[in-house]
Amino acid sequence: MKTQTPLSPAKNDFLNFLVRLGKIFSNISIVSLILCLCGVLSFVALAFIFVTAFCVIILTLGTIFIIVPNFFDIVTSSATISAEIASFFLENFYIFTSITILCAIISLVLLLLDKTNKHTARIVISSIVIAIAVLFIVVALTGVIK
């Protein structure tokens, strides 16, 4: 027999959905901050290549080695690619920093809407992300990052 329990009101469901979106935006802001770092530090870009390659292998269930036979060589010869990726992120530095700050602010607002639970850890992380992103912009404006 199927057990029936009462459903929460639609307004409550919507608020919880907003909190879920807040968590997603918090995750996006963290990833976006890492992408900003890719531009500033080329070794982060190298790590980014390896993580992306790993994701591609997982997503394609290993068939990437059949589709692109020299995939492993491409990944291992990533020094030059990392420089290209670093320059790409550096060129779009302000876009990624803006995305980081915007997503972190949205996540903060949405997480603060939750009256039932306190998302202290996520709120602290989002605040730190905003602080780091602002610091990046200040450093970029001083001319250290070109």
Partner: protein, 169 residues
């Protein structure tokens, strides 16, 4: 006017309770010690407390919320996972109220697919109508539907990624 304080202790971190008193939804708040608290005022001599578990996949617009979450989280990559075991709570207590303050503490047992969910420790007389943990099949089915759709989308993306990489190099 009678004051009723309901305290729910021992719930795992991920479990958010839905509390209804006489069929009306009551907002509860998590305190610093991880317990949920709710406070109501009533004129009645006895109240019916219903406790269930909140699931994102149980709401009326679950498919819309899941779709938006999936798209915003870059095809589910940055999405917080849904609960794996889908264990829900089904508690219904009838509590006789005292004239003044009524403190009702509900101590929950460890989450498991079946068995007694909670122990009620009120200073008042009470009747236990329902008190069990159960696996919510509706949520489980919806979770499987979502997983299948996600897998199909991911396979589609994988094919596209493979195609573009082969074109690039």
């Amino acid at each position: 006017m009678k004051n009723v304080k309901i305290k729910m202790v021992g719930l795992p971190n991920k479990v958010v309770p839905n509390v209804f008193v006489d069929g009306e939804f009551i907002n509860c708040k998590k305190n610093n010690f991880g317990s949920y608290e709710a406070e109501i005022q009533t004129e009645k001599d006895d109240i019916e407390i219903t406790i269930s578990r909140y699931f994102e996949l149980k709401s009326k617009l679950w498919w819309l919320y899941a779709l938006i979450s999936f798209i915003v989280s870059i095809f589910g990559i940055l999405e917080p996972p849904y609960d794996k075991k889908c264990i829900s709570i089904n508690c219904l207590f009838k509590v006789k109220l005292n004239d003044d303050n009524n403190q009702i503490t509900i101590q929950f047992n460890t989450l498991k697919p079946n068995g007694k969910a909670a122990i009620l420790t009120p200073n008042n007389q009470f009747e236990e109508i329902k008190n069990e943990y159960f696996v919510d099949k509706t949520v489980k089915v919806r979770k499987i539907i979502l997983l299948v759709i996600k897998l199909l989308v991911w396979i589609g993306i994988a094919i596209l990624v493979g195609y573009f990489i082969s074109k690039l190099f």
